[in-house]
């Protein structure tokens, strides 16, 4: 039972990493830029939800504030692209990377200035509840996280494979010039992708905050999510989710069975191994940018 408990909490953590990593990958696939502020987007989304929900602040009903927070982060992501990132169009990738790192810093201090640097937790309907499943006792928050993540990944997968806008986003990432020639408004598509990834990171933030306390520096776990994205191959959405789960599962086992000083490096050890033996990631789209 003990092991199963670890597995479940690892999966729940991994789902949050996976969702942040999804944000990384969506933006990378469509625009060739990596948004290193993705973790901080997650943190910001979480704080907005806490601010809207908790009785110390606005005190709206939980579901209403969840929807509001997701929308706010969607608009936030869209405007981020529209106002800041678009000006970097045509600049080197490194410039965009540094810019997004800076945006991450700003968000972190902004959150600290508004909501303080102490950990806060979200007053969610799942907190403290339990789900009995056979002989297992699982936290309702953990079950909710896993279900929401599966649902979200599934719907994103369908969105990219079946809808016109999703296909256009794929097209813009596979051949930007040809997308222009087909009348796909590439710049607007980029803005929408940033919006979408802001929404996904808000969901990740809500799940994270529902599971435990969050403080402004929580965005730094975006680095672990980045590792998850690399392990997953930075291309396929399900692959990235699995990358997140691998990192998530590694952590609780490592901290349980490996000496304290070494357990924290376990996720990065896996990252290193993947980079050495499968440099393109576990589920890479191998032929991606060849043509």
């Amino acid at each position: 039972m003990d092991v199963l408990q670890l597995v479940i909490s690892g999966l729940a953590n991994g789902c949050v990493y996976g969702l942040i990593a999804l944000g990384f990958v969506m933006i990378y696939k469509a625009t060739e830029a990596v948004n290193f502020a993705q973790g901080d987007f997650m943190m910001f989304g979480a704080f907005i939800t806490i601010w809207l929900t908790n009785t110390d602040f606005v005190g709206l009903p939980f579901w209403l504030s969840v929807i509001l927070a997701i929308l706010i982060m969607g608009v936030f992501g869209y405007l981020m692209e529209r106002i800041i990132i678009r000006r970097m169009f045509g600049q080197s990738q490194i410039a965009v990377v540094i810019l997004t790192i800076a945006i991450g810093f700003i968000l972190r201090f902004l959150a600290g200035a508004i909501w303080g640097h102490d950990p806060l937790s979200l007053e969610s309907p799942f907190a403290g509840k339990e789900v009995r499943f056979g002989g297992l006792v699982l936290g309702a928050d953990e079950v909710a996280i896993i279900l929401v993540t599966l649902l979200l990944t599934g719907s994103l997968f369908v969105f990219f494979a079946k809808t016109k806008l999703g296909l256009a986003m794929q097209a813009a990432s596979q051949n930007q010039l040809a997308a222009y020639y087909m009348g796909i408004p590439v710049k607007r598509v980029h803005g929408l992708i940033w919006g979408l990834s802001g929404m996904v990171s808000a969901i990740a933030g809500i799940l994270f905050a529902a599971k435990g306390a969050i403080d402004p520096s929580a965005g730094l776990l975006g680095i672990k999510a980045f590792a998850a994205a690399v392990i997953g191959g930075f291309g396929s959405l399900p692959g990235v989710l699995i990358g997140g789960l691998i990192i998530g599962l590694t952590e609780p086992f490592a901290s349980r069975y490996i000496a304290a000083g070494y357990s924290q490096i376990a996720p990065y050890t896996i990252l290193l191994l993947v980079l050495v033996f499968r440099p393109a990631g576990l589920f890479a789209q191998m032929q991606k940018k060849k043509v």
Partner: protein, 258 residues
């Protein structure tokens, strides 16, 4: 003529940084015409098309579509106005299926029944695409990718199709096949086309009217029959040569064009 030309380009100038790639080009395409622009490597043909389709912004001059000034508009606006650019080197979406590629061609359209009809029309002209509709486009052969690029362009139901070097890198047999289809599309479906080519022989055989470009300028303009008959074209683009003193004459004749 009463009707305004589909495309009316006046004194267009485009630069790559400090390099002037197009030095004042004027040309016209009328409805139903198949107009070709001939020229060697680096003459500025592709730049001309890119400037027309909005991927490059020209420094000077105007581009009018049915009299409406579209100089410097965003590419998606220009596609909505009915100009579609089939790029050189078959820029398809490699990881998407043939059918998805074709669907992307109709991105600016909304009427589903018309789109479905046009897809069937594309498949009837390019049966091989129908056969491979679920295959990843990147795994098609060069000729099939070119067909896909043309088919995808047709899906926008263009008023004017800008075709950039459809013969590039294809075997003579395939070139023949593709140009036959291009000519049929022009005659049977009434697609107005502007065809940019290095392969003058095959381009003149299908076109109504032709322009010759050299170093960013139009140096000749005439009906394709007259162009094909002209001595200069025969010598420099069609490879018909008289035995004597070819090198010396080439210099002289070229100079008079500039």
């Amino acid at each position: 003529m009463a009707q305004k030309p589909v495309l009316d380009v006046k004194n267009l100038e485009s630069y790559y940084g400090p390099i002037m790639a197009i030095r004042g080009v004027s040309l016209e395409v009328r409805k139903g015409q198949l107009v070709t622009v001939l020229g060697a490597n680096g003459a500025g043909k592709t730049t001309l098309l890119k400037s027309i389709s909005g991927v490059m912004v020209p420094q000077k001059g105007t581009i009018k579509v049915y009299g409406e000034d579209l100089t410097g508009a965003e590419p998606d606006v220009i596609v909505r106005k009915g100009l579609v650019h089939v790029p050189e080197g078959r820029e398809i979406f490699p990881l998407m299926t043939v059918e998805e590629n074709i669907a992307m061609g109709a991105y600016v359209r909304t009427n589903k029944t018309e789109i479905a009809q046009d897809r069937e029309m594309v498949f009837s002209y390019f049966p091989i695409l129908a056969e491979r509709r679920n295959q990843q486009a990147g795994t098609l052969s060069g000729g099939q990718q070119q067909m896909l690029a043309i088919g995808r362009g047709l899906m926008a139901k263009p008023e004017l199709m800008l075709l950039d070097e459809p013969s590039l890198g294809l075997s003579p047999l395939l070139v023949e096949e593709i140009f036959t289809i291009i000519s049929r599309l022009n005659k049977e479906q009434g697609v107005t086309m502007m065809l940019v080519e290095q392969n003058a022989r095959v381009a003149l055989s299908v076109a109504d009217y032709g322009y010759v470009m050299e170093i960013g300028r139009i140096v000749m303009a005439d009906t394709s029959a007259n162009l094909a008959a002209s001595e200069d074209i025969q010598e420099f683009y069609l490879g018909v040569k008289e035995e004597t003193q070819r090198d010396q004459r080439r210099w002289k004749k070229r100079k008079t064009w500039r």
